[in-house]
């Protein structure tokens, strides 16, 4: 199976064509999508037209971008003109956006071919895709297990070799956790590095779009295309896209890497072993490993489950049946809104809307939302202090390997605890990635997490590449 880097090189050189690469992708989708429930919508005609366009431009001698002819899967919370976009929710069923997310514009301009929309936990709320209104996706490595979530469909698309790249979004771990569970590289960029314009909001201050791929180099390739200032997103960083691909092989010699106790304590033994082995591999490559404790991180899960639902309760208010999506008829406007939202949202979305509404309510704001904001500030400061001592941090991505369907659905807290290691960086706004390193129970992959200060993506990719090589994927 070819990497995106290889596909783009082949398409540009004429060794392959965008059309041929797309047909391979479509045949794998035809073969496995029914079983794995990865794509909610495959845009066969649109993708063929896009591929033909890339091939025509190459025939014309045009300089097609760095993703020339690379088929790519899109998480179904990203807007694409005319393509059904559901967020895996009944409330948006049938809605077709009249505009493109900025990331769609960027990947298409870079020559990529979007092939369809992937399954997710409804409105990106969940860690297994079991909260999708259209059924869960399955983990291609073991279809009795979850692929993780919320970007489970995007992870499964790459893990099942349907595509070499996909786009996800990460609010509390929704890229890194499924990447870990599916044996992929997954990146949560610095907040503001990638435009959120066209990403259907879950928690605006935490959401970031990022890549999935099998190789470190492919994620760097895609992120370089995604990143850069966008005037349509006020929270977008002012700087141009960083140079990432050029630094993938920079190594870690002389880097100080902090092994953070709070980022693996309580994980399964196989995971802890993997993290310690990763530290050893990085030391072997010339990094200085420093044992660190950041006690503030213990508070972040609670803070996250106030801040994210609070923002969500406001972001999801617009799904009221008035303008688009589902409308359940009732006697008057208020009753119509109630009936629509009751029928359109699933249980987890309702739970979070209620939590968030409560946390922002008069008389409770200070005790809940206000307190969570203080914890967020503590977290930001704690990370900043850590980065005065070290260049990067190392920990686990998830407490365990991929779990079985239904294992955690009965207990929301058990599900939430799956994100305990990934949430802190979202609160801080810093970048982090998950890279596969060794395997655990039944040969299932384990992801280790690398974290860095704002805009340290190049350093993160270089460290991830060291682990990739050490894990036997040169």
């Amino acid at each position: 199976v070819k990497s995106a880097t290889q596909i783009a090189a082949d398409v540009r050189s004429g060794a392959s064509s965008a059309a041929a690469e797309l047909e391979r992708t479509l045949s794998v989708i035809a073969e496995r999508n029914e079983e794995l429930n990865v794509f909610l919508h495959v845009d066969i005609d649109g993708a063929r037209a896009a591929a033909a366009d890339v091939d025509a431009r190459i025939a014309n001698g045009d300089n097609v971008g760095p993703l020339a002819g690379v088929p790519i899967a899109i998480k179904d919370n990203l807007c694409q003109v005319g393509i059904p976009t559901t967020c895996s929710s009944k409330i948006l069923e049938g809605w077709r956006p009249p505009y493109n997310a900025t990331v769609i514009e960027r990947i298409v301009a870079a020559g990529a071919v979007p092939v369809g929309k992937t399954n997710l936990d409804e409105f990106a709320m969940g860690s297994s895709t079991e909260n999708s209104a259209f059924g869960p996706s399955r983990n291609p490595l073991d279809p009795t297990r979850v692929p993780g979530g919320s970007s489970g469909g995007s992870a499964a698309a790459v893990a099942s070799n349907m595509t070499s790249l996909s786009l996800g979004s990460d609010t509390g771990g929704s890229i890194r956790q499924p990447a870990a569970l599916c044996g992929l590289v997954g990146v949560k960029p610095t907040y503001g590095l990638v435009s959120r314009y066209g990403l259907i909001a879950f928690a605006s201050s935490l959401d970031q779009i990022g890549p999935f791929s099998k190789t470190v180099a492919d994620s760097a390739l895609l992120l370089e295309v995604l990143a850069g200032h966008d005037p349509k997103d006020s929270t977008s960083l002012p700087e141009a896209s960083p140079s990432l691909v050029a630094h993938v092989n920079d190594g870690v010699a002389g880097q100080r890497i902090g092994l953070v106790r709070e980022l693996f304590d309580g994980a399964d033994e196989s995971v802890v072993t993997a993290v310690r082995a990763a530290a050893a591999a990085l030391r072997e490559a010339g990094a200085k490993i420093v044992d660190l404790s950041i006690p503030e991180l213990e508070l972040t899960l609670s803070a996250y489950y106030l801040i994210a639902p609070a923002e969500a309760s406001s972001n999801l208010a617009r799904y009221d049946g008035v303008r688009y999506g589902l409308r359940v008829k009732a006697d008057d406007v208020t009753a119509m809104m109630e009936a629509t939202r009751t029928a359109g949202f699933g249980a987890e979305v309702k739970r979070r809307i209620m939590l968030g509404t409560y946390a922002l309510s008069a008389g409770y704001y200070d005790a809940y939302y206000g307190q969570a904001l203080k914890v967020r500030t503590l977290t930001i400061n704690a990370f900043a202090r850590a980065y005065e001592q070290v260049d990067l941090l190392l920990g686990a991505t998830t407490p365990s390997v991929a779990f079985k369907f239904g294992a955690k659905t009965a207990d929301p807290m058990a599900m939430y605890l799956n994100d305990v290691f990934t949430i802190p960086t979202n609160l801080a706004g810093d970048p982090a990635l998950s890279v596969p390193f060794t395997t655990g129970e039944e040969g299932l992959p384990i992801g280790v997490q690398l974290l860095g200060p704002g805009r340290s993506e190049a350093r993160l990719f270089a460290a991830a590449r060291v682990l990739e090589i050490a894990d036997g994927r040169p």
Partner: protein, 475 residues
């Protein structure tokens, strides 16, 4: 209307004004009143999933101009979300400023010398407009509702006064003066009838010297007259209630223009909990000194200053003249008055012509140069044109431009020669011996009779003062 005994009303006003920006507050859609419904909309102001707001720099300019005109402090500010469900609000929350507004503090001095403090003037977005079909025309009980989102996202500034107003007339004066200021800043067109300015009034009553009473808020008053009437009604209602042993309940009230009364909209206990929180889609707004200086430098003089400058040109102005000055300032036409004064002409006459003739055809003032206006006023002042003729000339120039001297000539408005006037007066004296006799005996009223007759014979070409001089000479 005065309150009985020693009751006093305490009023504070919240004034919403739409800003005259080219585009909306957070998107590039045209900000235009009167377009076909749902034509000035885009993913952002429609609140489509995934869309994001980006603050309009011009709206910040206007908001700062308003703050500067009201002597406010311009401070770093933030945007919050005010959450409530309503169909004409596309996101089901409104982006508004909350605890950190762009303008805080300040004051407005009224023409009567009183000062009303300003608490804040903050930015927010407007909602769309619902039309309810069937039922009473209100949302409750309607058969169906139509929503026009053209207005959704139009920039507003809300100006909140302190509780310093003590009469309905003062409230009206405050609103009128504020309207003049908003127009002078260029931030608003002040068109009440189009809803570009709207008033909410907080009204309470107390006996003199007592602490503030419980207040009621009257929502959505859209004319100066409604504002004054609603406050009068509400204050009297509260006094009657209290004198009858009742208590005032804190509530929001609706003003019915036809019935001339307020009624309960909702009581405080039912008030929405808006769950305000910082909008994570927007960044802090902190205009630097250079930006503020740029805005301040472009600020035109405010009505109070302009009014003072015109009044200073008048000798012992009458109340009627002061009212006329108000019209001149309101229409922003004082340059004509200043031009006449600069030419050593009669500023009082200029004020009268602007407040009447120019005000009557204000849409065409572009046709009238200050030079033409000065020339016309001077001709009238010198007696070369009668008042009627001067008005006719101004009317012509306003309608279609042209040179006032040429128009006067073409209309045959050249002054009668002294000989012609003399012979005309002589012939009238011969024709009306009784009237002449009575005039000679001191009945001054008859001068008007003779002027009328001269005008009739000369088709209005004569100058009244010249006729009197002619009569006097022969008396």
């Amino acid at each position: 209307v005065t309150l009985p005994d020693d009751w006093e009303m305490v009023v504070g006003l919240e004034v919403h004004t739409e800003l005259l920006t080219k585009s909306k507050l957070f998107c590039g859609c045209q900000n235009h009143f009167g377009s076909e419904p749902n034509t000035n909309i885009c993913p952002v102001c429609l609140g489509l999933p995934g869309s994001l707001p980006v603050l309009n720099r011009e709206a910040v300019d206007f908001a700062m101009r308003i703050g500067m005109a009201l002597h406010s402090t311009i401070a770093p500010s933030t945007f919050h979300r005010k959450n409530y469900f309503y169909p004409d609000q596309s996101k089901d929350y409104q982006i508004s400023q909350y605890d950190l507004p762009i303008n805080s503090g300040g004051y407005l001095d009224l023409p009567d010398g009183s000062r009303v403090s300003i608490e804040r003037a903050h930015m927010e977005e407007d909602t769309g407009k619902s039309t309810h079909l069937g039922g009473s025309g209100r949302l409750a009980g309607a058969d169906s509702s139509l929503v026009d989102y053209n207005r959704c996202g139009v920039p507003l500034v809300e100006i909140v006064s302190g509780p310093d107003i003590r009469s309905s007339a003062q409230a009206r004066t405050y609103a009128a003066e504020l309207r003049g200021i908003l127009i002078a800043t260029g931030a608003s067109d002040g068109r009440l009838e189009e809803g570009s300015m709207r008033f909410d009034a907080n009204v309470s009553v107390r006996r003199s010297g007592q602490p503030f009473g419980t207040r009621c808020e009257i929502k959505n008053l859209n004319s100066l007259r409604s504002l004054q009437r609603a406050i009068e009604y509400e204050a009297l209602r509260q006094v009657e209630l209290l004198e009858g042993g009742g208590v005032v309940r804190q509530e929001t009230r609706h003003w019915d223009e036809n019935l001339g009364e307020t009624s309960t909209l909702r009581v405080k206990e039912d008030a929405d909990d808006y769950r305000y929180f910082r909008d994570p889609d927007l960044v802090d707004l902190a205009p630097d000194q250079a930006w503020q200086d740029r805005v301040r430098a472009a600020l035109s003089p405010m009505p109070a200053q302009r009014r003072g400058e015109v009044v200073a040109l008048l000798r012992e102005p009458s109340d009627a003249q002061l009212d006329a000055v108000e019209v001149v300032i309101d229409l922003g036409l004082e340059k004509y008055v200043h031009a006449v004064a600069d030419a050593s002409g009669d500023a009082g006459l200029a004020v009268a012509r602007v407040a009447n003739e120019l005000a009557a055809d204000v849409d065409h003032v572009a046709n009238l140069s200050t030079e033409s206006f000065v020339a016309t006023v001077l001709m009238e002042q010198r007696g070369e044109l009668s008042a009627t003729q001067a008005k006719t000339v101004l009317g012509e120039v306003l309608a279609s431009g042209g040179d006032p001297h040429a128009i006067a000539a073409s209309k045959g408005f050249e002054q009668l020669s002294a000989d012609t006037l003399g012979s005309t007066v002589a012939s009238l004296i011969d024709a009306h011996p009784d009237e002449w006799q009575r005039y000679r005996e001191g009945d001054e009223k008859l001068a008007q009779f003779f002027i009328g007759q001269v005008m009739k014979l000369t088709r209005g070409q004569a100058n009244g003062k010249a006729v009197i001089a002619e009569l006097q000479a022969r008396r």
